[in-house]
Structure formats: structure tokens, C-alpha cells
Symmetry: C2
Subunit: 298 residues, 2 copies
């Protein structure tokens, strides 16, 4: 009998490898692209990382009966948008971080001006990729619209603003904290599932179940992140720990306590898996991934 945990990890690793290869191929250095800009974009995009969002696109597509290869452009677009958001969030005018994924942040290596532009370039390239390489055009247009809604003013960008505004004041409660995370990380995670479903031409009810899974998974992911910041070791994480507390950032463990936070994460993962019911047997890998997110140590 195969060990299901090992199978999940192996699958994730294989899919991650496909994503990494595709990302390197999609980031093209044409004659009109300044060398230094290309380097700055590649530095952050090809720096490794969990590739959680693109892997979710691939898994959602397959769970809906689609071909994984058809979802690669949308998958890579998600990672480009995630990477751009990290580059901009790390800037001195925002979170002012010096390290990310174990390496110096983009602006520490390339300077602030180029880091801003590298982020802009990645955000833009994400849309080009989906618009040009997702088939058929109706699906491409719908994916572009989903992606923009999730990444924009009512999604990730809005969440980042709310997060900046929340620093240094007391949040009204766990609902306000969750409202920030729903936009800042949840919207993009949920969108990954939606894009996979769209590429597979899944019907609306399947897509909505997957989006709900993504929303719950996104919150669980954030709680685990907060817990790792309290408990984790910086070597495994590749970034500084216990930063949240030193910055007065409000987190799940700070508001609920560590134990209740862990319980909440567990509950959210159960909700996530329950939302996969319409998929039946094909939900296995997504369920496994949710468990994996809960149990990760980095």
C-alpha cells in the first residue's frame, strides 16, 4: 500500500517542477527588454518557493477533468502576481523587509526604482500570459477578469492597504483581522482554484465549491503562517521570525492564543475539504494538500 502522505509530497514536487520550468520559459528576455529589468524580474520569480498558487491551479483543473498542461499559463500567471506582490510589499515604504525566501529582497539587490518596475512588469506579464496562451478566448477573458478582481482594489491590493492601515492600532476583533486576510491572501488563493476550474470548463457549481475550498484554505494558511512566526525557526522559513510581535502586527495567536488558533486552522481545513464534496473521488489531492498546509513547518 502506498503512503498517501508521501504521494502528496511527491505529486506536489512534480507539479512544482513543471511550474518552475514553465515560469523560466515564459519569462523571455527579448531585445526590447533591458537586461537589468529582466534580471530583477527573474531574481524574484525564479527564486523557488512553495509554488502553492500555481499548483492549486493545476490540481483544480485536473480535479475538474481538465488537462494540466492547458492550465500552465494561468498557473504561472498566479505565481507572477504573487511574486510582484511580495516585491512591492517588501519595499521600505511598506513592510521594509531585507530578506525573503532566504535571500536579499529585490530592492536590496536592484534598488527601489527597479524593484517597483520589476513588480509592475510581473503583474503586467501575468495578464499577457493568460490573455495570449489560455484557450479558448472566452476562457482567457474570464480568467483575466477573475485574476484582476482577486488581485485588485477589492482583493489583494485592498487587503494590503487595510493591513498597512491596521498597523499601530487595535483591530475591532477577529472579524476585522479575517477581513484583511480574506483579501490579502485569500482572494488570490481562491482565484487559483477558479482559474483551474475555468480552464477545465467546469460548471459553475464545481467552480464555486473550489472557490470556497480556496477561501478556507487561505485563512488556514494564514493562521499557520502566524503560528510559524511565533514558534518557527528562521532557518527553515528563510526569513526572520517573531517579526509580527516586534512590529505590533496583530495576528491570530496574539488575538486568540496559540491553541485556539491551531483549532481554528484545523476547523477551516475541515470546511475546505467539505466544500470539495461535489468533486467526489477526484478531490483526493486537494484534500491532501489542505492537510499538508496545516502540518507544514515552513
Amino acid at each position: 500500500m502506498t503512503n498517501p502522505a508521501a504521494t502528496i509530497e511527491e505529486t506536489l514536487q512534480r507539479y512544482r517542477g513543471e511550474v518552475n520550468e514553465a515560469l523560466a520559459g515564459y519569462l523571455e528576455a527579448g531585445p526590447a527588454v533591458p537586461q537589468r529589468l529582466f534580471e530583477a524580474m527573474a531574481y524574484s520569480l525564479l527564486a523557488g518557493g512553495k509554488r502553492l498558487r500555481p499548483v492549486l491551479v493545476l490540481l483544480a483543473c485536473e480535479a475538474c477533468g481538465g488537462e494540466r498542461a492547458a492550465a500552465l499559463p494561468a498557473a504561472c500567471a498566479m505565481e507572477m502576481i504573487h511574486t510582484y506582490s511580495l516585491i512591492h510589499d517588501d519595499l521600505p515604504a511598506m513592510d521594509n523587509d531585507d530578506y525573503r525566501r532566504g535571500r536579499k529582497t529585490n530592492h536590496k539587490v536592484f534598488g527601489e526604482g527597479l524593484a517597483i518596475l520589476a513588480g509592475d512588469g510581473l503583474l503586467t506579464l501575468a495578464f499577457e500570459l493568460v490573455a495570449r496562451r489560455t484557450e479558448p478566448p472566452e476562457v482567457a477573458a474570464a480568467c483575466c477578469a477573475d485574476l484582476a478582481a482577486a488581485a485588485g482594489m477589492a482583493g489583494m491590493v485592498g487587503g494590503q492597504v487595510a493591513d498597512l492601515e491596521a498597523e499601530g492600532r487595535v483591530l475591532s476583533g477577529i472579524d476585522e483581522l479575517e477581513a484583511i486576510h480574506r483579501r490579502k491572501t485569500g482572494a488570490l488563493l481562491a482565484c487559483s482554484l477558479a482559474l483551474g476550474a475555468r480552464v477545465a470548463k467546469a460548471d459553475r457549481s464545481l467552480r464555486e465549491g473550489l472557490v470556497q475550498y480556496g477561501q478556507c484554505l487561505g485563512l488556514a494558511f494564514q493562521i499557520v503562517d502566524d503560528l510559524l512566526d511565533v514558534r518557527g525557526d528562521s532557518q527553515a522559513l528563510g526569513k526572520a521570525v517573531r517579526k509580527d510581535a516586534s512590529r505590533g502586527k496583530q495576528t491570530y495567536p496574539a488575538m486568540l492564543g496559540e491553541e485556539a488558533s491551531a483549532v481554528r486552522a484545523e476547523l477551516l481545513v475541515q470546511q475546505a475539504c467539505a466544500a470539495l464534496k461535489p468533486l467526489g473521488d477526484r478531490a483526493g489531492l486537494l484534500e491532501g494538500l489542505a492537510r499538508f498546509v496545516l502540518d507544514r513547518d515552513h
Copy 2:
């Protein structure tokens, strides 16, 4: 007999009014959008300005026999991308400007963090607008791809990087200067024409003629901009003048002299108008606009 110059100005003003109204409608303050982010985006997007790019979209669409109203989403998307680029270019890490269109720059009012995010939000909203509101979906997808190519690493963002890199060193010649402007301003102007043609479902040859017009117009526009910086008065322009020289920025007048620059702009406008030949009689307004750009004093 009507005065053709007056007709052009009246038409531009009417179209500009339609664009301004549509922009205000498309920028929606939903419950998930932080108030301050909305204000920062509206501050720069609804600050007036020439609205050259959106007007070009509308004119190109009509010149190809399309309905102006159908091109409004693409037109407004162009202006959002233009506005985002101005917000980011004005940042301290880039051109470090305090005034724009006669008012304080975005980061001077809202702070750097919010200005970066307001720019990110506008860039993202541009794609949502085109993807969601341009019909049919094949045209929406093609417009998103064009827009991203023009705005991205091989277009506007690449041009901005090349411009940053060129400061403080001597360019190899007018060709290098033009290669910067082709990307930094030319790509987006040419794209405006392409989108108008796409919305009107014009054939490829019409679209290519319009793009050529846009490329020539973009360079002419830049030369006139450089000349206004040397000759102009800051009140009419709404921004500081003679900044280029004080910053050691290389310009057409600095490289060619004022007179030869003016001749080159005139020649480019002639080339632009020649590229409109396939449109026959329907090219009138675009020809008028090219003249207008050449003769503007702000």
C-alpha cells in the same frame, strides 16, 4: 464654412467629457475597497489631463466604422495604465516629482506606500475593465494581450527602466533616445490605436496603419514635450519646466537643437498622416489630432 481647427478642438473636448464620465463610473468604491485607497486612485485618475490615449481609442474605433461607446472600456483602461505609470514615475525612487497636472503628486498627498498600491490598483483595474466589458470575448482577450505587451517589460516598463539607466550618462545618439521613447510613450500610444481598431473589428491592414500612425505620433508628442520643457511656461503646463536640463536628462532639443527638433516633429506628423491612407475620408479627425499635438502649447 466651419473652421476645421475649431471642429477638432470641439470634438476632442466632447470625447474627453465622455471619457471623464466613464472613468468616474468605472472606478467603483465597493465595500471591500479601503476608502483611502479609493481616494488615492481617484485623486490621480480623475485629475483631468489631456486624455490623449482614450480619445485615440475612440477615434480609431470610429475611423474603422465602429461604435464609440463600445470602445469606452478599452479607452478608459488606457488612461488607467497611463495614470498608474505617472504615479509610479513620480515616486522618490524614480523621477521624484512633487507636482503633476498642477497638483501635488500622489505620494506627496497619500504617502509612498499608498501611492505604489494606488498605481498597482489602477494597472489591475485596467485589465479587469477590458476583460469584463469589451465584447466579444475574443476581442477582449486580444485587447488584454496588446495592452499588456505595450505596458510591460518590452514596452512602457522597459522604456522607463532604459530611461532611468540613461540618466547621468551620454546616450550613443538619437537612435538610442528614440528607442527609449518608442517604449516609454510610443508603445502605449500605438496600442490605443490598436485597441480602437480591434473593438471595431477592423482588418489587420487597417490596424497596422493605425499603429504606425500611433508610433509616429508618439515620437512627435515626445519632441513637442521636450520643446515645451525648454520654451514653455510652467503655469500652462501645470508642472515645473526646464527640469530636463537641470537633471542632465537627454532630450531632442539638447541632442539636435531646437530647430532641427521642430522639423523632425513636423516630419513625424506627416508620416503619421501618411499611414492613415487606407482609411480614406475617415482619417480626418486623426489627422486633425496629429496637427493639434504638434501645435499644442501645453
